[in-house]
Symmetry: C2
Subunit: 335 residues, 2 copies
DNA sequence: TTGAAAGCGCTAACAC
DNA sequence: GTGTTAGCGCTTTCAA
């Protein structure tokens, strides 16, 4: 058995209330008493029982990090892991523990997020990887559990979000291509159920128009965020526009696939076709050629999300935190 | 307020004891009563409060996944994330939740694992990334909290481990090189504080000796698991052994660095020097050339670890779970 | 088959 | 300043 405040009370010759007060730093207690209690607690190697405290406080000092099924697929590993680290580090810094949850393709059972929340008394949740058509999204919003979304631009009384400025990121990427003299720039986008796809398309279009180029929907191929989309996209776009000299991809994995396909078509990168990716996952520094891409501050997304959630927990209102992307120029656009 | 068994009891006109019995499927209750209680609970959308249950049961149905600082560095992302997924999925399947913990370089505070355990009433912990000289390792073993280590071969009453057969993996790698006709095979190892380094070196040596080649310590460079070690290792080894035609690296990141360095030395891979890595992280399929490496079943390591831990929790004894590595032959050894 | 009562470790009125 | 008391939501003897 581990030591409880009762044990301390007995040893110190005071009531458990006094012990509680000393431990929690309340002011209405004699300094000498507090000191003694604290010393004894330390001597007895006392560890407060968070479970008991949660029960009475109705707060668990725990947040749920819910990773939606989709995000678990190949390409996003890198991405997610950094965010997880950010969330964890910041949460711990602020006195919260993190419970991991995921809607896995392996478990058939459809556990609702809310179920987890009430069962574990989670103070709030962090959602990442949800698609616009995710049925749980509404559920989370309805139940007024404080919640922070990553890459889903929703704001309400109890819900905020963190995202990187995707319009801006896409514009930077495309502007870079335009600056290099490209006029016929294709795009391979992620699936339509991701909010980020929408914004990246918007940024692509804006950049074109800002530079007096016409936006042509046919120059955009809608796929998903995986490698195969890059392969298919290249073949479709090159079929329609043999004169395409540059390609903007909504993810690095798309770009990797695209480069592979371009090589198969006998095109050199960047000499014949320049390619820009999105995300700046680790592996793009090792591809051939190394990929020019839009960096997202992943770790920071995590810390900011945790921060925002805790702010929400202390009564703050939902807000949007938008971080800045950064263009990383490598050899897939310029030698 | 959410609904409690008290609410159900009132509505059903029975005592809370009866409700508890019905909910937990005890036999000593009238079928009709049970049915009614269950129906009412369902109607009221009852969710048992895990916190309250934990308090009285002194079991939290929660396990801690503790990731040691070291592992957070670059190269291991890929690695860890899959393990986390495996642990999570299997844990949930068995009715446990997972709390994330990490000794981060960012937080100065030295929280002990045990502190987390007692505070959160964790039923058991899973440790990954600990080095042989980790001071907490002993702490965990002393406190008899059921514990499963990943890649640290310790077994005790309350502690087991999961690892991939590193001796075998290294032997496969080196045997592959020998089979290709290589006689002068160098090795770049990870740091000495990782158990796996020890075993991989052992496997390297065994393979050499099994093939009548002499083991020469000078042919082994001790670095760490990162890219730079590969760069430095190549220059050291090539200095000493200009006739080296093959290189076995204890991690993929080492191999990536090694290939980079080899190119700088004007060596072609694999024509002049063949390179084998270890881990099979995602990016090695995109390096130039794609890397031959030893695959570790990461997701499975996670599921097996969670399984073992739960077995330990139900009174099982510590045991060693050893998984099989697999050689992935790509173009860095054979064209 | 069911219920009353105690208690898990802690906090928080409220009295003294 | 300090102690008494009640109670968080649940499980579990023990009696009935």
């Amino acid at each position: 058995m581990s030591v409880t405040i009762k044990d301390i009370a007995k040893r110190a010759g005071v009531s458990i209330t006094t012990v509680s007060r000393a431990l929690n730093g309340y002011p209405d207690i004699h300094p000498r008493t507090r000191e003694r209690v604290l010393r004894i607690a330390d001597e007895m190697n006392f560890r407060p029982n968070a479970v008991a405290r949660s029960l009475v406080m109705k707060k668990s000092k725990t947040i749920g990090l819910i990773i939606s099924e989709l995000t678990c697929s190949s390409s996003s590993h890198h991405f997610i892991f950094d965010i997880i680290r950010g969330v964890h580090d910041q949460a711990v810094l602020m006195g919260y523990d993190v419970i991991l949850s995921a809607t896995s393709p392996y478990q058939q059972q459809e556990i609702s997020y809310m179920e987890l929340c009430t069962r574990r008394q989670l103070d709030g949740v962090l959602l990442m990887g949800v698609r616009t058509d995710d049925r749980y999204l509404q559920e989370v919003l309805d139940a007024s559990v404080p919640c922070v979304l990553i890459d889903v631009p929703l704001v309400s009384k109890t819900c905020g979000h963190v995202m990187v400025d995707n319009v801006r990121g896409a514009r930077m990427a495309v502007q870079h291509l335009v600056d290099l003299g490209h006029r016929r720039i294709g795009m391979i986008n992620g699936h339509r159920q991701a909010y980020v796809s929408f914004d990246r398309l918007k940024g692509y279009r804006q950049a074109l128009e800002e530079n007096g180029l016409t936006f042509d929907p046919d120059q955009v191929f809608d796929g998903d965020f995986k490698e195969d989309a890059g392969i298919e996209g290249v073949s479709r776009l090159l079929d329609r526009f043999p004169d395409m000299t540059a390609l903007f991809c909504a993810s690095d994995m798309i770009a990797v696939g695209a480069i592979r396909a371009l090589h198969q078509w006998g095109k050199r990168v960047p000499e014949d076709v320049a390619v820009v990716g999105y995300d700046d996952i680790d592996l793009v520094r090792y591809t051939h050629p190394p990929l020019t891409t839009v960096h997202q501050p992943r770790y920071q997304m995590g810390t900011k999300a945790a921060e925002l959630l805790v702010r929400l927990l202390s009564g703050g209102e939902g807000e949007a935190v938008v971080l800045e992307p950064q263009l990383m120029v490598r050899e897939s656009t310029i030698r």
